[in-house]
């Protein structure tokens, strides 16, 4: 049975069919959500929200694309919006919390970061549109075609964004890269 047929059954109210769709896709979606969010709780929230939205929108799924691709487009949207919200909360909380405490802790935390820490920080600093493509392609192994469909952009745009992401990383890391060469 194909995912499209499961989706049709789920649309007709068969929860077991939706569970099959869940089982077939959850690991990959969760991995991507975790890569994007970097926190277990957020990754769980985004994954759950993506599946719930997909369930509510099943009657909009017509099989023009694979179910997994359609689901990914929902999941990526959920994650990007969720991360923006979380960032706003964090920024606000930092501003309201004891700033002196943060400043006092900062120097020791930032002292002599290792190469990996610098790499991770550089990835975090990438704009969302570049970071998402970098994570999907380079870290999770998605094909450009799938990324493009998930993001609603042309395949060439996906490639261009990846190239730009790498360029930005290289620029940000500078001499730290030499340690890996």
């Amino acid at each position: 049975m194909t995912e499209f047929e499961w989706a049709e059954q789920a649309r007709d109210g068969d929860e077991r069919a939706f569970r099959r769709l869940y089982d077939a896709n959850v690991d990959r979606i969760y991995r991507l959500m975790y890569r994007m969010a970097g926190e277990e709780q957020l990754a769980k929230d985004f994954t759950q929200e993506a599946f719930l939205r997909a369930y509510r929108k099943l009657d909009q799924f017509r099989g023009d694309a694979k179910f997994s691709t359609w689901l990914h487009s929902i999941a990526v949207s959920v994650a990007l919006n969720g991360i923006r919200k979380a960032d706003r909360h964090r920024k606000r909380e930092h501003a309201l919390d004891d700033v002196s405490g943060i400043l006092a802790a900062a120097p020791s935390k930032r002292a002599e970061p290792g190469v990996r820490e610098r790499i991770e920080e550089a990835v975090d600093q990438l704009p969302d549109i570049y970071r998402t493509v970098f994570l999907m392609h380079d870290l999770e192994g998605y094909a450009h075609g799938e990324i493009a469909t998930s993001l609603g952009v042309a395949e060439g745009t996906s490639k261009a964004r990846l190239s730009r992401a790498r360029a930005k990383l290289r620029e940000a890391l500078g001499d730290a890269m030499q340690e890996y060469v």
Binding site: Q60, H137, D138, A143
Partner: protein
């Protein structure tokens, strides 16, 4: 999964980029643990029950994604409501209001840009003292943008007063979500007029954006994750109080404009 990660190998546009370097990132950057399948499924199942069946998400206001990249794949959205789908009454009445308000905002911004010879108020007054209110600033010049902003503040005050009242009663009314979403979109529209509005107006809009996002978060979590909904509401109340947002809105939107 088709992996074309190495199709381009060493990226020709980025000389010196080493695939092995990416491999190192892959091992450490937000390396995902195994998915807690059953735990997540339990939450999804509960949400499915609450949704009372698949395909209940066809409400355009609910689907409208302010920042959105959603709904780009698969089917083209069917916008007619499903027979028997329960749509909140408040939403039906909000839809024409939302369209009219959005049109007015766009018109206001257009008029403001056309008529403004500079910032909404003289730049010398732009830096309102910290903790000051908009009422302390010089009188508005009556431009379309100012009018649009004032009307927007009035409507936002109504929403926030409703939500705060519900929150104090321990409730979260999910049907205010579309209302908040519309106001959030309009807030961002006004924020885009940066440079044509005073700094204190922009600061208020920025604070409102955060609060509206929190309201949206609470309404979205309502019915699915009550703990998160309460948490979002707590954050919203704190933001409202710490930022003295309602008094600032009131000073920006006199009562004569609030119901306009």
């Amino acid at each position: 999964m088709t992996n074309d990660r190495h199709e381009d190998g060493r990226d020709p546009t980025v000389p010196g980029f080493v695939p092995e370097w990416v491999d190192a990132v892959r091992e450490t950057y937000h390396a995902p643990p195994g998915a807690p399948r059953e735990e997540m499924w339990a939450a999804i199942e509960a949400g499915m029950t609450a949704a009372s069946g698949p395909g209940t998400g066809t409400d355009p206001a609910q689907d409208a994604d302010v920042d959105g990249v959603i709904d780009l794949v698969g089917g083209r959205a069917r916008r007619e409501p499903r027979p028997g789908s329960a749509r909140p009454r408040r939403l039906r009445s909000a839809a024409p209001w939302a369209v009219a308000a959005a049109a007015l905002l766009v018109l206001g911004i257009g008029i403001g840009r056309w008529s403004a010879a500079g910032p909404l108020l003289p730049t010398g007054t732009a830096n309102a003292p910290a903790g000051g209110t908009i009422a302390e600033a010089p009188a508005p010049d009556g431009s379309g943008l100012e009018l649009a902003a004032r009307m927007h503040f009035g409507r936002t005050e109504s929403l926030l007063a409703t939500v705060r009242s519900d929150a104090r009663a321990g409730r979260v009314d999910g049907s205010v979500g579309p209302w908040a979403r519309t106001l959030l979109a309009q807030t961002r529209l006004l924020m885009d007029a940066r440079g044509e509005t005073r700094d204190d107006v922009q600061q208020l809009l920025s604070d409102l954006e955060l609060v509206l996002v929190q309201v949206l978060g609470a309404t979205e979590a309502s019915g699915m994750d009550e703990e998160r909904a309460r948490e979002e509401l707590d954050l919203m109340i704190r933001s409202l109080e710490r930022g003295e947002i309602l008094p600032r809105i009131r000073s920006a939107a006199p009562s004569t404009m609030a119901g306009a």
